[in-house]
């Protein structure tokens, strides 16, 4: 009865070109019908060659250096260099081997990339985890998967069994002397579990409140051991770097992009063909919208867009020529985030949209620190009043004050700053819609009626 996800028509024709393996490292192995790429298929398409190379021909330090030189940045939203994170992990004599965690909690609104990578290419993720585990001296990898991703859980578990039977997991992998196994852990809801230290608490069976840093997870993470946390897409990108090298990876992005490689990008909202595609970093947002998503649906005009998830700021149609990469989106005043863009059309009222978004963030606050726990419900209250046309003079200023009081550095984790980023930008660009929600004082209303009469 399950209505399956549309079988990837949205990955486009490029990944069927003869050069796809060089231009589309993340997606060239996908099957046209959306069926998962199981072990035999994956191996036929060069699968696990990179792991073999890393484990038998490279030292862990060399793997870290290679990934650092390639410039692979985290794809989970924050964009921290993966190789740098790995080289900062505590390792050496006397330090216990630790954990490699895959952040597969994908719950950011408008983010639908990790799901596809896990459902259809589970081995690509496992191979990246094996290589990352080797580079970080980890003894165990754990995929922290959100509970609702039932198909991803089933496919990943099957892939783990396949890999174990083939000697790709377990003891002495590929005769390299490296021992490593992977466990798939499923969660039970709550967006905050995606924050990396909250994820560790949740994994340990506790409430998912973020932890204080330092110590950073690389020093003392899961069960006090050195722990590396990377997003699904980050880890899925690793094997191609080891297989093809740094120069090749640098050549994938568009000129002007300071981020290297390709990335899963998309457009959703009232566009003609919402979807997700593997695209070069630095492509312009206009190209994604027009050439891939087919432009706005007829009758809908683009009013605003968001580059990558609920926690990124709104931009205008005049910003569509921005490049989708951290420096490109940074230049127009916000963050790339997860790189899956949302089109807001002119039928949507920004006050109502922000009310929906802040309700989400307020509900998903872990409640640990006051500005976030109390400030977000307060913003919802103000937005509801404005939405109903019952706002009071001063409400917009109060919302702006909240954007400052919940900003970066004011709260325990990045949930609150992410929550108010879209609010500040919406007021900046669409202030008149917020002002329209302020109730007219009685005498003004009467005066208006008088004038009209």
């Amino acid at each position: 009865m399950t209505q399956r996800t549309r079988p990837l028509a949205s990955f486009g024709t490029a990944n069927r070109s003869p050069r796809a393996r060089e231009t589309h490292p993340l997606t060239w192995r996908l099957n046209d019908d959306g069926a998962p790429v199981w072990l035999e298929d994956y191996r036929r398409k060069d699968g696990y060659q990179a792991a073999k190379r890393a484990l038998t021909e490279m030292t862990p330090e060399e793997v870290c250096e290679e990934v650092k030189d390639a410039g692979l940045k985290g794809r989970g939203g924050a964009g921290f260099s993966a190789g740098t994170k790995w080289s900062l992990t505590a390792k050496g004599d006397g330090i216990p081997r630790g954990y490699l965690l895959c952040n597969a909690d994908e719950m950011e609104p408008n983010t639908y990339k990790d799901r596809l990578l896990m459902e259809q290419q589970p081995h690509q993720l496992l191979e990246g985890m094996i290589i990352a585990g080797y580079a970080n001296h980890s003894f165990k990898g754990i995929v922290f998967l959100r509970g609702e991703y039932v198909d991803a859980a089933r496919n990943l578990k099957r892939a783990v069994v396949e890999a174990r039977e083939a000697g790709l997991l377990g003891e002495n992998i590929l005769g390299s002397g490296f021992d490593f196994d992977i466990h798939v852990h499923t969660g039970a809801g709550r967006y905050i579990c995606g924050e990396e230290t909250a994820l560790i608490n949740s994994l340990e069976g506790k409430r998912a409140n973020p932890r204080a840093k330092p110590p950073f997870p690389g020093q003392a993470g899961a069960w006090g051991k050195p722990t590396v946390i990377n997003n699904v897409e980050t880890l899925s990108s690793v094997s191609s770097i080891i297989a093809n090298g740094v120069d090749w990876y640098h050549g994938l992005c568009r000129p002007g992009s300071e981020d290297h490689g390709t990335k899963m990008m998309g457009f959703a909202g009232k566009v003609n063909q919402p979807g997700v595609w593997e695209l070069p970093l630095g492509i312009t947002v206009r190209e994604i919208l027009e050439d891939y998503a087919g432009g706005m649906r007829s009758g809908c005009t683009l009013k605003a867009w968001q580059p990558g998830g609920a926690g990124t700021g709104f931009l205008l149609p005049e910003h569509l020529d921005a490049q989708m990469c951290s420096n490109g989106i940074g230049k127009v005043g916000t963050r790339m985030g997860t790189g899956l863009a949302l089109a807001v059309d002119d039928s949507i009222n920004m006050v109502s949209l922000l009310r929906n978004m802040e309700q989400f963030f307020a509900r998903e606050s872990c409640g640990w620190c006051t500005p976030c726990r109390d400030g977000l419900p307060w913003s919802v209250k103000l937005l509801k009043a404005l939405e109903a046309g019952e706002g009071q003079p001063g409400d917009i200023e109060m919302l702006l004050e909240l954007t400052r009081k919940l900003g970066p550095g004011k709260t325990f984790c990045a949930h609150a700053p992410g929550a108010i980023e879209p609010l500040g930008s919406a007021i900046k660009y669409f202030r008149e819609e917020f002002e329209a929600g302020i109730a007219q004082p009685v005498h003004a209303a009467t005066a208006a009626v008088g004038d009209a009469g």
Partner: protein, 177 residues
């Protein structure tokens, strides 16, 4: 003092006091929980999974299940209760035979999530958090289901749906008796 303490105790029973009624976990539940414990460095890590196992067998997690789970994991009942009340997919009240999880995140909002809510309200008479009188369906909101390009997205039990028009929603639900 004595009497007022007595009074407050009887009017507000403490959820996890050791004398409250408790249920006995089935062998199947116990085995599944013990198997989960074996995957982690510390039995506590299986607490969420243990709650999910009980929920799978009973539909929800009654208060009486908290202490037996805690004993199996070797941790205080209050810790299990703390976890059980934190996570949104652990149900602490009985739910219907089928759970509809409707994404209420922003992209589905733009794509007409509220129309879906209206249809469900009109046809089944329930709002988010409610169960139909015949105990067939419970409706709960859920964060973005990673199907934003096909929304409004929703799940019925373990099945995920996208690209369903509001007119077809009831036809989809009909299959769940």
């Amino acid at each position: 003092m004595e009497t007022s303490m007595e009074a407050s105790r009887s009017s507000a029973p403490r959820l996890i006091s050791s004398d409250r009624p408790r249920l006995v976990l089935s062998d199947e539940e116990r085995d599944a929980i013990l198997e989960e414990i074996s995957h982690y460095e510390n039995p506590r890590a299986a607490s969420i999974e243990a709650l999910k196992i009980v929920q799978k067998h009973r539909g929800w997690v009654p208060d009486e299940a908290i202490l037996p789970i805690a004993e199996l994991l070797g941790i205080p009942g209050s810790d299990v209760e703390g976890v059980a009340t934190f996570y949104s997919q652990i149900f602490r009240q009985p739910v219907g035979r089928h759970v509809i999880r409707l994404c209420d995140s922003m992209t589905c909002y733009i794509n007409g999530h509220e129309t879906f809510l209206d249809v469900i309200k009109r046809e089944l008479g329930i709002a988010p958090g409610q169960t139909t009188p015949d105990k067939r369906f419970t409706l709960i909101p859920v964060c973005c289901l990673g199907n934003c390009d096909k929304g409004p997205a929703f799940m019925v039990d373990e099945d995920t749906y996208g690209q369903v028009e509001a007119n077809d929603l009831m036809r989809v639900l009909e299959a769940y008796e």
